[in-house]
């Protein structure tokens, strides 16, 4: 009985109407807080944070690059967890969540690549230096794209969900190995003449806005995840009775 009650929240997460309305209630809060934090973090980072003594104001790219890089890995991990939950407990909502996350994760991966490359240009004198982190991010982008392509390839939604879920789980086992191997490749490939960017021994005055933007990015992701998940559930459950009940609420 105790165990039953303790796991009730988990069972309720398996119910599409419950998750649909929960996401609907959370979304506006997440969206507005994300907007406030993003604006605050960006203004703080651009205006009030002191310039770096080596890179001057160039380091300010950190406030968009690092949060998107963190988030790209976080989203992939979360997606793989959703995939595993879906495969193990045959939870439809988990599959919907995984495919709702994938394009968002791909977007953050792309952003970390784009801003990293822009940051690299003044530092390395070239847009692309086969920096190990950028290289791993590029492979991560392909992992995301493969996941999305596999999910969409099947005429049966369920088969696509389960096939891509297995790919996601295999992928998350591979991500650390890929990161390590690319690091190793780079360390043999050339001596560390290329400066590594990222937050090495960063000053507190620089760190606070970074943390604010990082939380802002994460809430922005959660906000869009809620909306994506709602769209996905409405589409997948379009023949279910609860969606018809929802339709009644909308039209009145």
């Amino acid at each position: 009985m105790m165990a039953d009650r303790r796991w009730r929240w988990f069972h309720r997460l398996g119910s599409p109407p419950h998750v649909y309305s929960l996401a609907g209630r959370l979304a506006p809060w997440l969206g507005w807080i994300a907007l406030i934090l993003l604006l605050a973090g960006v203004v703080w980072g651009l205006v009030f944070a002191p310039p770096d003594y080596e890179q001057g104001d160039g380091f300010r790219i950190i406030y968009v690059h690092v949060p998107s890089a963190w988030l790209s890995l976080f989203v992939y991990t979360a997606m793989a967890v959703a995939c595993a939950v879906g495969l193990i407990w045959r939870m439809k909502v988990a599959f919907a969540a995984a495919i709702a996350m994938a394009p968002l994760g791909a977007m953050f991966t792309f952003l970390s690549l784009a801003t990293g490359s822009i940051w690299g240009q003044p530092m390395w004198g070239t847009w692309w230096a086969w920096d190990p982190r950028l290289t791993s991010q590029l492979i991560l982008l392909f992992l995301y794209l493969g996941f999305i392509a596999l999910n969409r390839a099947f005429p049966e939604q369920q088969t696509g969900d389960r096939a891509s879920a297995l790919l996601g789980v295999v992928g998350v086992v591979n991500v650390p190995i890929i990161h390590f191997s690319v690091d190793w490749w780079h360390s043999l490939h050339q001596p560390a003449t290329i400066a590594q960017f990222g937050p090495p021994a960063i000053d507190t005055a620089m760190l606070i806005p970074l943390l604010i933007t990082a939380v802002g990015f994460k809430l922005y992701f959660l906000w869009l995840l809620c909306l994506q998940l709602r769209s996905e559930l409405l589409y997948r459950e379009r023949r279910a009775s609860w969606v018809k009940a929802e339709a009644g609420k909308i039209s009145t």
Partner: protein, 57 residues
């Protein structure tokens, strides 16, 4: 003020990095919101009738 936009000579890079991020995040948000609205509208239209299939977005 102009010093702020000059960014210590890193203006091009700093502003393009922030610009790319802003554009990508706003585009994604608009796309997600539009899809969400579209789904809601479709569900509302289908209320009471049953059409066999409709486009995804």
């Amino acid at each position: 003020m102009s010093e702020f936009f000059y960014m210590d000579g890193f203006a091009v890079w700093v502003w393009s990095a922030f610009g790319v991020t802003a554009v990508a995040m706003i585009f994604t948000a608009v796309g997600v919101l539009r899809r969400h609205r579209g789904q809601l509208r479709q569900i509302a239209q289908r209320h009471g009738e049953t059409s066999p299939n409709e486009p995804r977005d």
